[in-house]
Assembly symmetry: C2
Homo-oligomer: 179 residues x 2
């Protein structure tokens, strides 16, 4: 068992999927107003856009299917997979119409992730991996493994988990075995 | 933490969903031949019907949406939820079109299961619950908690896990704290 590969749970929205970029793209398309990403800083994600647009968009078919890939995520996940068993773990059951969209999104953008390594769930408290990379503190707070907080507007100022700001920093962390 | 409720992962197909009954119903509807459920005994599930019909059906839209509920499952799950945190854990990502169907099936037949407690995954090796009830030995073999094998044709003769034959026996097991 000592040679067993370690496991990493990697979140989708806000971590490998640039959901904030998608909110901004959709809002500009619908309202003709370009929102700065700083509008999402220090507020719950649902309050980042005016007029309840965030809640509206996440329930709109197509939203999750076309989210841009987070910069550097594809290359970094591929690199991690050389030494770790990577699971993509997304809290998708809150938005059931997103289930198939998220699957197709992974097929298109991360085709090297097997269906065996995809987990769509609600709360993540029974996901037991050695590491969890997530932007939501609530997911990390109930995780027993090593926690890595991916910076997002809604988690600024929280300092109880190892923080990384981008995928280069994730690779640096794992390459230097700092965790 | 000692008062934390224990968790149970409960499989869908072959455990709360009577997938064999559905195979038989669909085969009779398409071919006019009533297959006995004993045809599934002692063979891999995929070989229970002639002409590769099992593989065909599981990729056909609507198959998972209309599976009959396993006898006694609804009442038993409700009873377990009084004392345990129940998660429905289904290896759904192998059949991506089943994802939304399985969600809707749960909404219809187990409306008391929150989206927070639904997990659609591939392999179940990173699902950490105190108990796992499953008909597939491969899922139980990599589970660290207590394992309960729900009898199915394809697992007959396997004796390395606690076996139960129906939902009454599950309740008896938990009521008597035999595990």
């Amino acid at each position: 068992m000592e040679n067993k590969r370690k496991t990493i749970a990697i979140d989708m929205d806000g971590v490998i999927a640039d959901t904030i970029a998608q909110f901004i793209i959709w809002y500009e398309r619908e309202h003709g107003v370009l929102i700065e990403k700083e509008a999402f800083h220090g507020v719950p994600e649902s309050e980042g856009l005016p007029n309840g647009a965030v809640r509206k968009f996440v329930y709109t078919p197509g939203f999750f299917r076309t989210i841009p890939v987070m910069e550097g995520a594809r290359e970094a996940v591929l690199a991690l997979m050389k030494n770790y068993d990577v699971y993509i773990v997304s809290a998708a059951t809150e938005f059931p119409h997103s289930l198939f969209e998220k699957y197709e999104w992974l097929q298109e953008n991360f085709p090297f992730i097997s269906w065996k390594n995809i987990i769509f769930c609600g709360d993540k408290s029974v996901i037991a991996t050695d590491y969890m990379i997530d932007d939501h503190v609530k997911n990390l707070d109930c995780h027993n493994g090593s926690c890595i907080l991916f910076t997002a507007g809604h988690n600024i100022g929280i300092d109880r988990h190892t923080r990384i700001n981008n995928w280069d920093e994730v690779l640096e962390l794992f390459n230097n075995e700092q965790i």
